[in-house]
Amino acid sequence: MTHQLHELMRDSLDHCVKCTICETYCPVAAATPLFPGPKYVGPQAERYRGGDANADASLDYCSSCGICTQVCPQGVKIAEINSQAKAELAQERGVSLRDRLIARPTLAGWMGAPVWPVANWTTSFGPFRLLLEKVLRIHRKAPMPRWAGRTFQSRTRARRRAPNPSAPQRQVVFFHGCAANFYEPGTGAMAVQVLEHNGLEVIIPKQGCCGLPLQSNGQYDAARAYVRRLAAQLAPYARAGHDIVATSTSCGLMLKREAHEILGVDDDDLKVVSERMFDICEYLVMLDERGELNRDMQPVDMEVPYHAPCQQRGHGVGTPAMELMALVPGLRASQVDAVCCGVAGTYGLKAEKYDIAMEVGRSLFDQVRASGAPLSVCDSETCRWQIAAATDRPSVHPVEMLHRAYGLG
């Protein structure tokens, strides 16, 4: 609790001049009066914390999208302060069964995978969802992914190779995250093919969950344990000089930055992993800058709306997905004018927050629908599920557009 880095984040509250820019950009404060806004719960309320008891449960309405920190002109770590405070609140008031469950995608993943047809049937079965809402307070309309049956890990067992320090340049590690493992192995497979199409050999080591959902649900100790375990699995590859590439932009960010900055994890494994960690679009743009990207693409004649999710912006690398799509002949991608889709990982699944999440994303959904495009593009899985459900059309990862352009499938 009194970790040095936490103190540093907390100290950044000193920089707040109350300019209110964070409040004007906060998508949640704009959608509901239940959330008093990032300035309020961040630098303002933090001065009242640290006593015996936590006083402001309203802070739980923060979706952890992180936009406040990004827009603060003074460098206040608003989102980080809020996350810390939320974790302390959770510690003090206890974590509900629901928040424990939805914060552990591997648990749901493993429960559903072997019985996937049944699992998929139940999650789309109205009465069951009503029951779920009653018992667990997971909103009956909240978007839920569909189990894919065999996990991505088991489908790619042949790629579980050892680190190879002598051929680091041409071999990359793919960090697929829980989403590709349980629900979207197709996205994972496309990513692998796109990387291979660019002359890279892809290693897929055994890997677990990064702990991000635990973190955003205030369960820091568990989150730390998860991310340490994952870092230990990936570190030998990073040490051997392999870059690590992720399709899950939020989980990639967790390893790159948040586990250190928010959870205060300091270990060496995490450090080497974070230095080698790249979002897949970021990585492909880097290849392109070095003249190494395969630019031989077929036209994909289509207009697509693209949404850069909050966590993608947290990487601070611009919008590489837009740059990649611009390379595809005929593809007319346009960025949606909206900050957040509302779901923020698990936030929008919760019964008491579903409506807020839908309100946050409303303008985004309207723009996607109005575009008339058959699909939309977005880097983050939970955002894609939310956007797809709200707009009645698929939402795909940017690599899928490249995959089409390369004529791979």
Partner: protein, 499 residues
């Protein structure tokens, strides 16, 4: 409480004197165990009573005395012996334990002692006392300046006071007059022709930092010196203080060198102190009593006693119906009142016992101490349907309106003393114009007065801001300046700024 009909006369607002300009420490007594044993014992006894009767105004932070690398390591043993001798509860804890509790403390501390210090909010304490007095039938006349003590022969009959709002003189007759004028007590004694009651103003500076760097009061385990205490109080922590003899009790100027001295002193307790944001600086003057007739005391105010001083003008000057009480500390305020009223009762031949140590003040009946999150918790209830006037201090519009209705004609400084308007990080940058607009809208301040309220408040905030402008607070001041000059163009308001 003893059943007398009383009037309290105050020249400005309650808390405008030293009480509103102090450090915030409810002394366990630890500070005085070596140098001033009587004060130590008084503080130990009184702080326990104040915690009980004024629970709402006190945060039970606890305190530490730590031997930093800059301190004489030999003092700690004398300190411990002094605590035992004077009855100040103390317990030595391992330095590592102190560091665990207060991670920002200087890691070089060699010894640490736990004491029962607290933080006391002077305004809450004042309002509690004022309400209690009023409930017992007292009248409180603020903005009444005593200009004359009426004497007839050897008897004091009352006072003449100028009502500074109605601009008229008021004659107050009383069977007894108590001079509790603090550092101004000498001036008032002079008015009664009882010369030689010298109250030396021992001026000290304090700086509030933007948030709590420590949770408990931290004292350096050394002979009392400058800048050796850091007090967490409400949302801030306050470093202080100095002690220099001032020429006048009304000298509130802030010496630049002392600001630097305090920041350096902060570094000794919490390394990195200078990187933290300073909010506001102010000074106050201790009433250090020296009776010229008794010929005691010297020029070095740091070593003058903090003990309370009762001056019996009957015995000393042959004047009856008049007593002076001064010296002391905020911590011993109740004992001062008890002492002087006991003396009055004795002079009047009326044996009514004191009950102030037993009766809780209004608002403190449940014995619950102030806690840091309390305003946040209160705001949580009201959130959706009330605007915040002062965001930093979480002051909702409703509270301001209630206060304005109860007490028409307040200045913004009065609002500040009552509700903490403008005391947070932005120092009035965002709340001054809101509050002025609200008072104006209520009909409490017509246009010209509203302009004047705004300008005066800004000017007063500036006094405590300007000396500490560096880093984050400088940035804040520039933004505030832009709001008031650039956007609101307050320089061209059609009113003269009152001096």
């Amino acid at each position: 409480m003893r059943g007398y009909r009383t009037i309290l006369v105050e020249r400005v607002d309650l808390g405008q004197g030293t009480t509103g300009r102090f450090h915030g420490l409810l002394h366990s007594g630890g500070r005085y165990v070596v140098s001033d044993e009587r004060s130590a014992t008084e503080c130990a006894e009184e702080s326990a009573i104040v915690k009980r009767i004024a629970a709402e105004a006190v945060e039970d932070t606890g305190g530490l005395f730590v031997t930093t690398p800059a301190d004489d390591p030999g003092y700690a043993d004398r300190f411990l012996a002094g605590c035992l001798k004077t009855g100040v509860p103390v317990q030595e804890i391992p330095a590592a334990e102190a560091l665990r509790r207060e991670p920002r403390l200087n890691p070089g501390i060699s010894r640490a002692f736990e004491v029962q210090d607290g933080a006391v909010d002077a305004w809450k304490l004042l309002w509690g006392n004022a309400r209690s007095a009023e409930e017992h039938g007292a009248r409180i006349l603020s903005y009444h300046w005593v200009t004359e003590v009426i004497r007839e022969g050897d008897r004091v009959l009352g006072v003449m006071a100028r009502d500074n709002r109605a601009q008229e003189m008021v004659r107050i007759e009383a069977a007894f007059v108590i001079n509790a004028g603090g550092v101004w007590a000498g001036e008032i004694a002079d008015m009664a022709d009882c010369p030689g009651v010298t109250v030396v103003p021992g001026k000290g500076i304090m700086i509030a930092m933007n948030h709590r760097l420590v949770r408990t009061v931290v004292n350096r385990c050394e002979h009392p010196g400058d800048g050796d205490i850091l007090v967490p109080i409400r949302t801030v922590c306050v470093i202080g203080t100095t002690d220099v003899k001032a020429d006048s009790p009304d000298d509130y100027s802030i010496d630049r060198a002392e600001v630097q001295q305090m920041l350096d002193a902060g570094e000794v307790i919490v390394p990195g102190f200078r990187q933290a944001r300073a909010l506001h600086a102010w000074t106050g003057a201790r009433p250090l009593f020296k009776d010229e007739r008794a010929g005691e005391g010297g020029e070095d105010t740091r070593h003058m006693s903090r003990g309370l001083a009762l001056v019996d003008h009957l015995r000393r000057d042959g004047v009856s119906g008049f007593l002076t009480i001064t010296g002391g500390k905020l911590t011993t305020y109740r004992l001062m009142a008890e002492t002087v009223v006991d003396a009055m009762v004795e002079q009047m031949g009326d044996a009514r016992p004191c009950t102030t140590a037993d009766e809780p003040l209004p608002g403190s009946e449940d014995g619950r101490h102030y806690w840091l999150g309390s305003r946040l918790a209160a705001q949580e209830e009201a959130m959706a349907d009330d605007q915040l006037v002062c965001e930093c201090e979480l002051l909702p519009r409703r509270k301001l309106i209630e206060a304005a209705r109860r007490r028409p004609g307040m200045t913004l400084d009065d609002v500040r003393r009552a509700l903490r308007l403008g005391m947070g990080p932005c120092q009035g940058g965002f709340c001054t114009y809101r509050a002025t607009g609200i008072l104006h809208g209520l009909g409490d301040a017509e246009t010209e007065r509203a302009d004047e309220l705004l300008l005066t408040f800004l000017q007063h905030r500036w006094l405590g801001l300007e000396p500490i402008l560096y880093g984050d607070q400088m940035r804040q001041a520039c933004l505030d300046d832009w709001i008031f000059q650039g956007t609101l163009d307050v320089e061209h308001l059609p009113v003269a700024v009152p001096a």
